[in-house]
Structures are given as C-alpha cells and as structure tokens.
C-alpha cells in the first residue's frame, strides 16, 4: 500500500526526482522550505515533540515509572484535578495513579526511538539493496526486485503480524518487524532513481577512471539518489510510529514497564466505557500531532526537493 500511496503523490516516481542535483546552497532551501505555512506548523510541531521527548525527565511533573512517586489514591483523576499531595494533574491520571502528561512525555520517547531507529535501519538496508540491484543488474537485480515486489504485495500490518507471530512479542521484535516490512519501499525507490543516475556521464567518467565499484556506489551514485530517499524516510518514520502504536495497542509490542503511546492508549481502553476518556484521548492526540507534523514536513520536503517545482 505504501507504494500506491506514494504513486498517487508522486514521491515514488523516480522520473520526477531523477534530475535533482544535490542542493548546493542550504540557506535558500531552508527559506523555501519554511515559506509554506503548513510546513512551518509541521516543523514547529516536530521540534516541540522532539524537545519534549528528549527532555522528558526534566519537563515531566512525575516519573511515571518510579513507583515511589505513584499514589493509588490518585488513580483515575480527571484532567485538572490535584493530587493528594497538592500537585496538579493537568491531563488527569490513569488506573494506577500515573500522571497522563508525564506518561505521554516518556511514551513519546519510546515511540520516537522505535520509529526513527526502524526507519533508519530499513533505509540503510533498502537503499543498499536497491543501489546494488541497479548497479550490478543481471540476476542480482531480478532476484532483489522479485523479493521487493513479493513483499509489497502484502500489507505492512500483515507482514508485521507474520514476523511477530514467528518471533514473539516485544519492542525489539516490533523494530525488526517494521524493518522487514518496510525495507522494500526504499529498495524500490533507490533502484528507480539509481537506474536513471547510472546512465549519466559522471558515472561513466568514474568508470573510465577505474574507480572501484564500491566507491562509485558510495561516493557518486548514492549522493545523487538521496533526495527521494530522504523524503520517503521522513514519511516512513511517521508510518513506523503509527505501526508501532497499532502493534502495541494489540498487545504485541512495548512492555508495560516502558510504554509507548500505543500502550498508553491501550491502557485507557478498559476505562473508556465508563467514560474516563482522558486516559486514551490525550496520548492519541500526542500521537496524532507527531504523525501529522512529520507528514507535513515530509510533504514539503518532497516539494522542495522536487526539481519540477523548484523552477
């Protein structure tokens, strides 16, 4: 499905990005990037999210994993109410008396780490496979691309379920599942772009100079294929965060001791029918802000890096 979405938006179309020269001047590019209001909102949102996640221990009113700080008398308090000791709970507390706000801050950390780590590793694996396929051609290419096609014909969530069914539950396994489920997207994009770049004169020149193959791949082919890969990687971080949250919600992901946003939402599920909305609602809003911010940034990145719009 990734592929189809990308097709409709043009991310995946290598032809659109094929001629993209690496941006020489960073300054104007940033100004152009921020000139769109939605991109500005996305960037600010993303900065806030990352800031909160990084400095969670300093910012949060409470350490939700420190049992000493929890008081069962404070459980299921409404947003805005005060604790037994007089500390305000801006977003209420959950069934164990944990502050929802603090839980979200710590949960963001887990979600972001899982999302970024899995997207990065998938990007490295997928790009390597795609570039190698395009550069070497022949049987390696056929084999790799068959595998990619095969994988893209299954929905991501099904791939992830399959892998988790085999490996068992847990955060590490979720990361592995996301990597296996998403490397194919990168591989296809990288190959598509590299196929165009490969034919260009500078590669031929490098070959004539008898520069070794790995060096041509790394120093000449890769930098010229990066633009679409960066765009896809941005979007994939958002997808990975969403997927992790979904898997955690299904009880296949993060452990109770280190909850991600999905786990927090799942915790509130049992209280939902009694009308205690805040336990699920606020972590969901945090998840939404994260995903939308990343998508807005990715959307704008695509426009800026796309040479067709640059002129």
């Amino acid at each position: 499905m990734d592929a189809k979405l990308a097709d409709t938006t043009g991310v995946d179309n290598p032809a659109l990005l094929a001629d993209a020269p690496p941006p020489r001047k960073i300054g104007p590019a940033i100004i152009r990037f921020l000139s769109s209001p939605t991109a500005l909102i996305g960037t600010i949102g993303l900065l806030v999210v990352v800031f909160v996640a990084v400095f969670a221990p300093l910012l949060s009113p409470q350490n939700p994993y420190d049992l000493m700080q929890l008081d069962i008398l404070d459980s299921r308090l409404e947003p805005g109410s005060e604790s037994f000791a007089g500390v305000p709970y801006y977003l209420g507390t959950d069934g164990q008396g944990r502050d929802i706000l603090s839980g979200i801050m710590y949960g963001l950390r887990t979600s972001l780490i899982v999302g970024i780590a899995s997207a990065l590793v998938a990007a490295v694996i997928g790009t390597t496979a795609g570039l190698l396929a395009a550069y070497s051609g022949g049987r390696i290419e056929t084999l790799t691309m068959r595998l990619v096609d095969l994988q893209l014909s299954f929905p991501t969530i099904l791939m992830a379920l399959m892998i988790l069914a085999i490996l068992g539950n847990g955060v590490t396994n979720v990361v592995i599942a996301i990597i296996i489920a998403e490397w194919a997207t990168y591989a296809r994009t990288a190959r598509g772009t590299a196929l165009v770049e490969r034919e260009k004169e500078f590669i031929e020149a490098a070959r004539c100079l008898r520069i070794p193959g790995y060096r041509i791949l790394l120093r000449h082919l890769l930098p010229n294929c990066l633009a679409p890969i960066i765009v896809i990687a941005t979007m994939q971080v958002a997808r990975a965060i969403g997927l992790e949250a979904t898997l955690s919600f299904l009880g296949l992901g993060a452990s109770v001791t280190q909850p991600s946003l999905g786990m927090l939402i799942s915790n509130g599920y049992q209280y939902l029918l009694s009308g205690l909305y805040w336990i699920s609602f606020f972590p969901g809003i945090a998840l939404l802000i994260t995903i939308v911010s990343i998508n807005l940034v990715g959307d704008r990145l695509r426009d800026v890096l796309n040479p067709r719009n640059a002129r």
Partner: protein, 324 residues
Amino acid sequence: MVTSLIRRMIQAAFVIFAMTLIVFIGVNVIGNPVDILINPDLNQAERALVIKHLGLDQPLWSQYLSFIKGLMQGDFGDSFVYKRPALEVILERLPATLELALCAMVIAIVVGLPLGLYAGLYPERISSRLIMTGSILGFSLPTFWVGLMFILLFAVQLGWLPSNGRGETAMLFGTPWSFLTSDGISHLLLPALNLALFKTSLILRLTRAGVQEVIMQDFVKFARAKGLSESRIILVHILKNLMIPVVTIIGLEFGSLIAFSVVTESIYGWPGMGKLIIDSINLLDRPVIVAYLMMMVILFVTLNFIIDICYTLLDPRVRLEGKG
C-alpha cells in the same frame, strides 16, 4: 494470453511454495516448537515420547514434507485452545471478517468516490480544500485511536450505537450474518466506518487525481464543445475513464482491508479472523497461527493473480508487453 496466464500461475505457485518454506522455517527453526508444545513439568522420558509422537524427532526435511502434506489436505493440526482443527476454527470466523470488510469497502466507495469527483471537478472551492484536508487527516489518524474515539462518542457519550460484538444475526447460506437484522446493522456500523476511514481517503484522493488527469484530455474538451450537458460529461465521459484505476485499487485494497480488520476487530470485539489471530499469538496457539498465515498468503497471491488477469483483459498495453 495463454502463455502469460500460465507464466503467472507458475509464479503464483512459486510464491506460495516460498512462503510455506518461510513460515515453516520461521515457526519450526527460529521458534522452538518443543518449548511451546510440551509441558515443562514432564520428565525426560515422557518428553522424548511426546517429541516422537509429534514427529519432532524427524529430520527437518521430512517434517517439512509432512507439513506440506497437511497443507494440501487442509490439516494444520488441532488448535490448542479450541481443541478442534485449526482451519475449521478460522473458517468459522471468515464470514464475520468478510462481512466487515465488504461493508467497509462499500462505505469507502460510496463516500470516497463522489467526494473525490467533486474535489477534482471544482478544485478551487473552499469545500474541496476542506475535503482534501480531511482526507489528509484520514491518512494520518491512527485507525485504532479513531476506533476508540468512535466508541467514546457514539457509544458512551451519545449512546446511539453499541460498541461490542456482532449483535443479533440471521442465517443465510448456513452462516450467520449481521447485516440482515437491524440490531446487527447497528453493531456493524461503527467497526465498518472505522475500517473504511483509511480507504475512503485513499479512494477520494485517487479519484481526484484521476479526474484532474481526465478532464484535461481532448475528448472531454470535445464533449464540451459538442454542447453535451455537464452531467453527461461527468457521468459518462469522465467517470468511465476513471473506473479502471479505481476498480484496480478497490480489488487490491480489499485484501488489505481483511488484514487491517485485525485492528478494528480487536477494538470492537468483532468475532472475526483478525481477533482470532491476535488472541492466538498471545496464547501461542501455533496451529491456528500457521493456518492463518498460510490462508493469508494464499488469499493475497490469488487476489494479485486475479488482478493481474483483469489488467491484461482491461488494458491492451499490458497484453502487448506480454507478447513482446
């Protein structure tokens, strides 16, 4: 035509074969079935006996052969939880999932297609911009969270719709269906809406992109110049040309709806295959997991095969490529 058909069939068979290998290796080599299947309290002699009984003392290739043999006969062993054949347990749940997925697909088409058509025909209007922004939300909102919020809004706050189970069912062709009773429909509505959300956005955006492409073509200009009514241009000339990509996507996405129903079924306690597989993974019910995975593989390979054939029939360019 026939050669390409045969070639695709061989490819499909190869994919299924490869997947049996992956699933088998995954379950039997990466995960150790002995730990999962055998009671840890047993002593060494009893353990050996059980291993022998389950055939786990055989070399891997012979275990694989018996796995394939079971697969051919639809025999995946008995579910540990239900004490009945795994395939039977799954097939029993299939109608519920199909019902949910079909309803979601209908909702996605009925909502997505007209809205996309509108947004494509009048891109400058504010309402079109709102629709497009809404569709971005449809992509970004995590499905499971929206599901919970639906429950909160429609079941808890407003009390309009129930949030759990299938409700009253009526029998048709020997299987129970919810959409035949009013109580069943009220149970079906929330999960179907939830599942449809993502696909609605997808169909909406595809339709809009398609309209904007078609509307620039000469035959539309010609139809306008001929003085045809706007409704005829839209319904006949534009819509007809939109249908090929949209129908393909609908076909492709139906499979992913079944896969995504895992999430929706878990939220709404819908007794379908998706909920079953999550429960089975949590309970380590290995026969059911394997049966589900193999069923999904076969389902997707078949779906892709059918879509490939439809492509060949609908689009002459693909046919020619096959020959050349």
